[in-house]
């Protein structure tokens, strides 16, 4: 059986993503990650790093002395980074932290001076701000003040509340200014020491290979061992223990269903295994080894799986592809 051939459209999409993310490959860190899950999200406008009116310094270092709008770069006096998103897209915490402030009372698309937001305090002293969110009543706010959040956790859904022209997420990094005695906007795109650019979403993966690309033939009641490898194309380190960024291979379609092929090494009926290695850095390849037990009934089956960061987020199977193992349960003794 041939190894899953990807469609041309998918290849184009992946090549596009690879091109966009190529700069990030060498820069990928386990620090801040992009505040959403979809790596196809692009940049509308970055921070104006020059405070002077009608003079803009964009994230590439280019200066514009015109006060005009430069798509993909900057507009005058802009204090954050704008990411186009359809309304109610998932917004993720860029780093572990504690929610210190939020607003969810404005309508999802209510225009005005103020809008909905979540602000998170991080242990490094910085804060991140997620703005123009959907209303709390519309499911826009998924956290409360005082909540501890982990990187990659869904905290909100995007909207267009406040001073907003077109649905997008305004993501802002704030650094304490001792002179102003206040948090001031910084440029997350320029601070490459600790923030990747173009950056990576928290959790993403690409299929690499597996122990048997064809059909696994399992004698009824017997157990065989199967492994599959995925490349960590996200921005966070995969781990096999703890509660943050622990990555496992779980059943899919439907998500987290109890598998009839569960072997004795599965931690749960719906999770085949955690990551084999202690950790896998971004760009690394992680292997997932698990047993498959021949179900009681002879026949042909498929079992689907997806990666999940424990307690946080399912990987996007639309990009990962539907990973499944064809299984034939036989009566033979071979």
């Amino acid at each position: 059986m041939s190894r899953g051939a990807r469609s041309a459209a998918v290849s184009v999409l992946l090549e596009l993503a690879a091109t966009v993310l190529s700069t990030a490959s060498a820069l990928a860190t386990d620090d801040y990650t992009l505040p959403f899950y979809d790596p196809s999200v692009t940049l509308s406008y970055g921070v104006d790093r020059d405070v002077a009116l009608n003079r803009q310094l964009d994230w590439t270092g280019q200066v514009w002395n015109d006060g005009l709008t430069h798509y993909g770069r900057v507009y005058d006096q802009h204090t954050g980074v704008d990411y186009p998103m359809v309304l109610r897209s998932e917004v993720a915490a860029a780093k572990d932290g504690t929610v210190v402030d939020l607003e969810g009372g404005f309508g999802t698309t209510q225009f005005g001076q103020f809008g909905n937001f979540v602000r998170i305090q991080h242990a490094d002293g910085r804060q991140t701000l997620y703005y123009h969110l959907a209303s709390a009543a519309d499911g826009g706010i998924a956290v409360g003040v005082g909540d501890a959040v982990v990187a990659g956790q869904r905290i909100a859904r995007s909207g267009c509340s406040g001073n907003c022209h077109g649905a997008h997420l305004h993501f802002e990094l704030l650094v304490w200014s001792t002179s102003a005695e206040a948090f001031k906007p910084a440029d997350p795109l320029a601070e490459r020491r600790w923030t990747t650019w173009p950056g990576r979403v928290p959790f993403d993966a690409a299929y690499v290979r597996e122990s048997n690309a064809g059909t696994e033939v399992i004698r009824r009641g017997a157990t065989i061992t199967h492994w599959v490898e995925f490349r960590n194309t996200g921005g966070r380190t995969w781990r096999n223990s703890g509660t943050t960024s622990r990555v496992g291979l779980a059943t899919w379609n439907p998500a987290a269903h109890a598998s009839v092929f569960r072997a004795s090494d599965w931690p749960y009926s719906w999770m085949a295994t955690a990551l084999d290695a202690t950790s896998v850095l971004p760009d690394g390849v992680g292997r997932f080894t698990f047993g498959l037990k021949g179900s009681p009934d002879v026949g042909s089956y498929t079992e689907s799986f997806n990666l999940q960061s424990q307690g946080v987020h399912w990987f996007d199977y639309r990009r990962l592809g539907n990973y499944y193992v064809p299984i034939v349960v036989s009566n033979t003794t071979e």
Partner: protein, 147 residues
């Protein structure tokens, strides 16, 4: 086994089309949104600056009022002001441009401003730019593409 994620094709199509938000429409109703285009008046002067003109039938946000275009901005093709605020203009053009035969090549929503790049009949890239007007409405520009 890795099966091709067919939803990616759908996703790609959505990305190409752009991100229109059908739930946001103008108060006056979508059916009456598009009106026949008439080029905004050029500044009454002896200027010899030549600017491109809007094609007939170019979509215009309902209620938008054409403004005089400054002669020192030859890249400007159309200029209007609207009482509608926020995403109204952006959402209107994100939906109306493809329907009217102007393929969108990029969408750039933002806080103070939104910009949509689209292909004109000539093959050139034009922009529609919507930003808050001084008096509280929205200023809408159609102009030649610029970085």
């Amino acid at each position: 086994m890795q099966r091709s994620p067919i939803w990616s094709v759908v996703l790609l199509s959505v990305l190409v089309v752009g991100c229109s938000s059908p739930e946001v429409s103008s108060p006056s109703g979508a059916a009456s949104q598009a009106t026949s285009a008439s080029s905004p008046p050029a500044e009454a002067s002896a200027s010899v600056v030549e600017r491109q003109t809007l094609p007939s039938g170019f979509p215009i946000l309902s209620g938008a009022v054409a403004m005089v275009m400054p002669a020192d901005d030859p890249g400007l093709i159309g200029l209007w002001e609207s009482d509608q605020v926020g995403s109204a203009a952006y959402d209107f053009y994100a939906e109306a441009l493809p329907v009217a035969g102007y393929p969108i090549v990029g969408v750039y929503p933002g806080g103070d401003v939104a910009l949509i790049r689209f292909r004109a009949p000539s093959g050139d890239i034009w922009q529609v730019v919507a930003h808050g007007a001084v008096d509280g409405g929205t200023t809408i520009e159609v102009r030649l593409d610029r970085p």
